[in-house]
Symmetry: C2
Subunit: 285 residues, 2 copies
Amino acid sequence: MAIESECIVCRMRQALDVCNFVDADENTKQSILKRVMEILIDGIENDTPDGVGFLIQTELKRLTNHNDPYKKVKSESIQKALELYPKLVQMVENSGHKLKTAVELCIAGNVIDFGPSNKHDIELAVQQVVEKEKSYFDFDEFSKELHKARTVLVLGDNAGETVFDRLLMEQVDKKYYYSVKGEAVLNDAIYEDAVSSGIDQVAEIIDNGSPMSGTALPRCSTEFKDIFYSADMVISKGQANFETLADEKRRIFFLFKVKCMLLCRKHGLPLNEFVLLDNREIHKN
Amino acid sequence: MAIESECIVCRMRQALDVCNFVDADENTKQSILKRVMEILIDGIENDTPDGVGFLIQTELKRLTNHNDPYKKVKSESIQKALELYPKLVQMVENSGHKLKTAVELCIAGNVIDFGPSNKHDIELAVQQVVEKEKSYFDFDEFSKELHKARTVLVLGDNAGETVFDRLLMEQVDKKYYYSVKGEAVLNDAIYEDAVSSGIDQVAEIIDNGSPMSGTALPRCSTEFKDIFYSADMVISKGQANFETLADEKRRIFFLFKVKCMLLCRKHGLPLNEFVLLDNREIHKN
């Protein structure tokens, strides 16, 4: 299967977003979109879906002459999340089930994502995630594993969502590792984004050594993989980490919002669902 | 200026919409998107914006083997609008200013549009249009002209919106002509859509002779142009009619919701605004 049709249109919208984020002029925008279409056509003709997204992101950086085109939106997302943070802490404090509420909020944080769409409403997600009936929510196993674990690796996703991850880590005292991308890609958190979110106060921030979205293990550094396989528990945030690790054998807890139809079809998950998936449960089926 | 960057991305999304409307399989979708990208690249390279949209719509019909790919969504839109119709009549009846309310609702109907987006909320628009402060609303001139006119040409836009246009025409008894497209294009109303909406009960339905979106006069039939120039009043619905007729000298009242940034920049109109524009006022500035 070549790059899927929905992803093609999504990549185009992402490219236009990047142009807008860096205030490119109309001529530059057109040249960039032309280049992206050439890559996509080549991806269709030569059946090379995996490399397409990465190649486009690389070309977007080169053509806009920005090595982190989402820098400004990432910084705004972190700022907004930090403003929300005291309210989130209060929600956890007031909850009859603190850890569960922190997990729910941590999943809500995953809506801060400029990948599948350039619109999101984090306040709405915070409200929805607590109220909504959740059909894919392996919380008991998650809680048991977390309390048992000494070392926990959290696979970070988007900048801003990082603040929600910090809130979760603050609930149970552990030796936490928090992974960020090796290079800027979409609005995924890199080292400095994690620090601005206060992650360094609760975790050791490690970069996964990969410039790609998600956690593509063959592209990750040996140091990262050592921690990935030796940590007592792995908590994975977001769709891209889920997609790249869905077939992984080691136990992983995936926390994310289901944001695109592709994922729905491929994994039988309902669109817009907030999920906590224990991959032991997935592999059972 | 070649086809604008926002339109490029919009055309891609429209193409995927069409694929989904006709239940194309994934391979067909990819071939279609590839063809659309080739047309868009050619449009960028050769600076031919005007023909691009039409060529894409023509190719979409050919490649999906459907001469009216929006048929089903158009029919659903009309059905939904007809279900709303008694409530709309009631809103007009209960209003202290019946014609003004009918005009407002007629503008709200313009949100039923699969061109700029594939999502719209007509109930929300009905509520918003009445409550919202409107800064571009030349109602007094409109009302004066309508009461003075013997013959009125309404330039139709989308299927479903047609029902809202009918509601407006029912308010003041005139000789109405109602124009539809000569061939299916996007979700624009063609003859049968106007009839299903009950337009034939209040107006003489005429097809403009053109297979293109909007009212591109050079492509319209002589019969249509005769009516266009001889009618006492022309009421134009939607963005595409506005874009194609923005420089026209004859007096036209444009009713639409501002749905894309391009229009905002080009004509200084605020996004999401519901407008009633008298082009005499525009030309004054």
